[in-house]
């Protein structure tokens, strides 16, 4: 029996964490200055295998601390505490165009972390590691409640934080791929915000009637939150990615019913026909013309809204915005043109004198899919756009390292922004009372 093997210990703290929490991976009791590979493996819900690995050399005590030591190679290099998660890639031989997205948020993502002797780059299945542990990553904190919502014609899921409440509320919108995507709302509820993920493209109403929803669908969602006994009706925000941004900007400026505390728009644009809504956007998309393709046949859609029009009938007049707005954009976004849109919005707000409401986070080399931190960066994936009915291998953009950094930074700042606008007593005239 290999004497060396029984000694090595591997620990990950916390072993059960939220997906946006950092962990510390520690190897101990290996031989001093030995070559080691730390390996992460995850089988996602669709059954595909993902992996990441990094090369280390243990110190004089035989230890490796991933948060402090330098990886000299693998799927990431340098000092990267969370590199084994954000650099996860489909294993060699996998189907191309995969994207990792959690569907069942009530169960954790399970990752196996192992340590191998030597600096390996392949053949992990054929070798016996020195040690291995399992790590759980959760979207839902203990006590968070998941409530499917079907009333008022909505297709949505509400996540309520742990505790008596009431809580500030948030409407969470995704993009052109449709579906009811819950994980970001679940995570925000774990941070104390009653968050409702909404399906607005493949919702029951659309599937049954064939019609695309109008503004009143979103207003219905807002009213649902507003009158919910566990939600503070005067503190509701909206968060959206991609096409979700278009909806938010339109509603924030034009809806008589929605009074948002703040809005966060990720990878989106204010360019849209002002004399309509989603249906009119569909008609516009159908007139896009031919797609632009990269050399390796990935479709690039970023030019479609460019150049940013000067005509105010073709874009939301953000100079009329009355609530704080955070824009998060990747400068290597190959799917939309959020950076150019953000610059235009900034100009409009400066001229209107409401730019004190604007927080702009623009990340060089980040792509379109700016998600919660530590999830693998998707640069290209198989995508089916609901509105235009096109299915393509789409280039989203971004360089993995900078994109992952952007995700981490943006999420942290997003949480601070939401907390400041939803939790602080910024509204003047609020009287102090005794116990709630």
């Amino acid at each position: 029996m290999d004497e060396k093997r029984c000694c090595v210990t591997l620990s990950v703290q916390p072993s059960r964490g939220l997906v946006d929490e950092k962990f510390v991976i520690l190897v101990q009791n290996s031989f001093p200055s030995s070559l080691l590979t730390i390996y992460a493996h995850h089988q996602c819900e669709d059954g595909y295998s993902w992996h990441a690995f990094a090369h280390y050399t243990s110190d004089a005590t035989g230890a490796v601390n991933v948060s402090e030591d330098c990886s000299t190679g693998g799927t990431y290099s340098g000092v990267e505490a969370m590199g084994l998660l954000w650099s996860l890639k489909p294993v060699p031989g996998s189907k191309p165009g995969l994207r990792m997205r959690k569907k069942n948020v009530q169960a954790p993502m399970v990752v196996t972390i192992s340590v191998y002797s030597g600096h390996l780059t392949e053949g992990f299945e054929d070798q016996v590691p020195l040690a291995g542990v399992e790590v759980e990553r959760w979207y839902m904190a203990p006590g968070v409640r998941r409530i499917p919502v079907t009333e008022d014609g909505l297709t949505a899921t509400l996540f309520l934080p742990s505790g008596p409440g009431p809580f500030p509320g948030l409407l969470d919108l995704w993009g052109g791929g449709g579906q009811l995507v819950e994980y970001r709302a679940a995570l925000l509820a774990s941070h104390g915000i009653a968050s409702m993920a909404i399906d607005y493209l493949t919702c029951k109403y659309t599937m049954e009637t064939g019609k695309i929803v109008e503004q009143d669908y979103f207003e219905m969602a807002y009213k649902f939150l507003q009158k919910h006994p566990k939600v503070l009706g005067s503190r509701i925000a909206m968060l959206g990615l991609s096409l979700g941004t278009s909806v938010i900007l339109k509603m924030a400026v034009h809806s008589q019913i929605m009074k948002l505390s703040c809005a966060v728009c990720v990878s989106g644009s204010h360019v849209q026909p002002m004399d309509g809504f989603l249906k009119e956007m569909v008609d516009r998309y159908k007139n896009w013309g031919s797609d632009r393709f990269t050399k390796d046949n990935k479709v690039v859609w970023r030019d479609l809204l460019l150049p940013i029009p000067t005509d105010l009938s073709l874009k939301v007049d953000v100079g009329k915005l009355q609530c704080p707005l955070m824009l998060i954009v990747g400068e290597d976004d190959q799917n939309w043109c959020p950076h150019e849109s953000a610059m235009d919005m900034k100009g409009m707000m400066e001229r209107a004198g409401n730019n004190h409401l604007l927080t702009l986070l623009s990340y060089p080399n980040a792509g379109h899919l700016i998600e919660p931190p530590y999830m693998p960066h998707t640069r290209v994936s198989n995508y089916r756009d609901v509105l235009s009915q096109q299915k393509r291998m789409v280039l989203w953009g971004g360089q993995t390292l900078e994109h992952s950094r952007a995700q981490e930074d943006a999420w942290r700042k997003l949480l601070v922004f939401l907390r400041k606008n939803l939790y602080s007593g910024v509204k003047s005239g609020s009287l102090s009372l005794s116990n709630l």
Partner: protein, 421 residues
């Protein structure tokens, strides 16, 4: 002891619907021997609040702990950094909300908090209340549920019903093989798995062994073979390194352990002790709880009643509470120490004697149990035994001893080859 606190600024604001406080517990899911940080923000500055923990046990009892705090000028209370002005604990106590848990007023007596189902976590609700007065009639301003686990992710639990052997085996994730530990409990009987689950979470294959059912400790010979058998099942398990097996035990289990490590298979170690317990040596205290200390003291005088510890050849760690009212742990340790030293085996022995600490030295942050219900095996009646110890020193002892036990186990079961290098 802190006296009453006077506020220079009286704030009647409390918290309002428009400025809800923010409570966080990190990590929200932890192993039971891990510390957490409880932080409250967005509070009115320099105002009184009470933090309370609540646990509903498997037996249906409610346990609670609470500390009284004052927010700082940035509206923050940090249990890790701030002082508790009183409650079930006081002072700077990051884990006070766990170790000072006690049955809520009006509960049954003689309760002990012990998790039977280790595959699910303990759920503890941490809540914040306005003020320092009695919070029971008030609603909390905010609360959060936190999970405390005995089993880490990926641990396998296997029930053992191999012939006569009864227990539960816990195997850590990973390729193995691992050092093994046989886990023996005490006179209460039954099968308690939580320490084994926790040790498996720390890298050991651990077998929690049942050797008699609760209340059924009979005064017949329990054969030594049963324990040797268990030891061999563990040693021979494919995931266990055969020459790295240890034993951990509490109370009555220690007698078995000492017997196992000292004696060969020819001699039976019987629990004859039960037959010859001199019941007239059991004292009763002011609460009518039984104190068994003197029973042990009497036994120490009887050489035929003692395991010959001079024969021990493996490292031995003794953990004792100086206020143990159930067993005369310190005197026993003295006796063992004397015998081993005389036999030239003193270098194998380490002992930790904790002041003001009682009999039930459990994993860290477990609530201190100064007295507990037990079924008397002779008469089948329920009595309350006094275990001793004062809550704060006892809790500190649990914390310190667990770390030292883990480092003792690691040193001897994981690393001993390093000494040879």
């Amino acid at each position: 002891r802190l006296g009453p606190v006077r506020w220079t600024k009286v704030t009647a604001t409390g918290c309002t619907a428009s400025t809800p406080p923010i409570l966080s517990v990190r990590p929200s899911r932890a192993l039971v021997d891990e510390a957490f940080e409880v932080l409250v923000e967005n509070l009115p500055p320099v105002s009184p609040f009470t933090l309370r923990s609540l646990l509903h046990s498997e037996d249906g009892d409610d346990w609670e702990a609470y500390g009284r705090y004052v927010s700082d000028h940035s509206g923050r209370v940090s249990v890790s950094e701030d002082l508790s002005f009183g409650g079930t604990y006081s002072g700077m106590e990051p884990m006070g909300l766990i170790w000072s848990l006690r049955p809520v007023p009006g509960s049954r007596t003689g309760l002990r908090l012990r998790k039977k189902d280790v595959t699910t976590p303990m759920l503890i609700t941490i809540s914040l209340y306005n003020g320092h007065e009695d919070f029971r009639d008030n609603s909390p301003l905010v609360s959060m549920v936190t999970e405390r686990w005995y089993m880490g992710p990926g641990i396998q639990r296997i029930e053992i019903t191999d012939g006569e052997l009864r227990g539960a085996l816990f195997i850590p994730p990973g390729p193995g093989p691992f050092p093994g530990i046989l886990d023996l409990w005490g006179g209460g009987g039954g099968l308690l798995e939580y320490r084994s689950a926790l040790l498996a979470s720390r890298g050991y294959v651990c077998l929690a062994l049942e050797y008699f059912k609760t209340g059924q400790m009979k005064s017949t010979d329990m054969s030594f073979e049963y324990f040797e058998n268990a030891y061999h099942v563990l040693k021979d398990h494919p995931q266990v390194i055969p020459d790295r097996v240890g034993i951990i035990s509490l109370c009555l289990g220690t007698i078995v352990t000492l017997g196992l490590v000292a004696e060969s298979t020819e001699i039976k170690v019987s629990l004859l002790l039960t037959k010859t317990y001199e019941f007239n040596k059991i004292r009763v205290d002011e609460n009518n709880h039984q104190i068994w200390r003197d029973v042990g003291l009497a036994l120490l005088q009887e050489p035929s009643m003692k395991v010959d510890v001079a024969k021990i050849n493996c490292p031995l760690l003794l953990v004792n509470g100086c206020d143990d009212q159930n067993w005369c742990a310190v005197e026993t340790a003295d006796d063992i120490s004397k015998t081993m030293n005389a036999a030239g085996k003193g270098h194998l022995l380490t002992r930790l004697d904790y002041p003001e600490t009682g009999h039930l030295i459990e994993p860290p942050f477990s609530p201190h149990c100064p007295a507990g219900n037990i079924i008397m095996y002779s008469s089948n009646q329920k009595v309350i035994q006094r275990y001793g110890g004062k809550t704060k020193p006892h809790s500190d002892a649990q914390d310190d001893s667990w770390r030292k036990i883990l480092s003792f186990l690691r040193h001897h079961l994981y690393c001993s080859q390093k000494a040879k290098m």
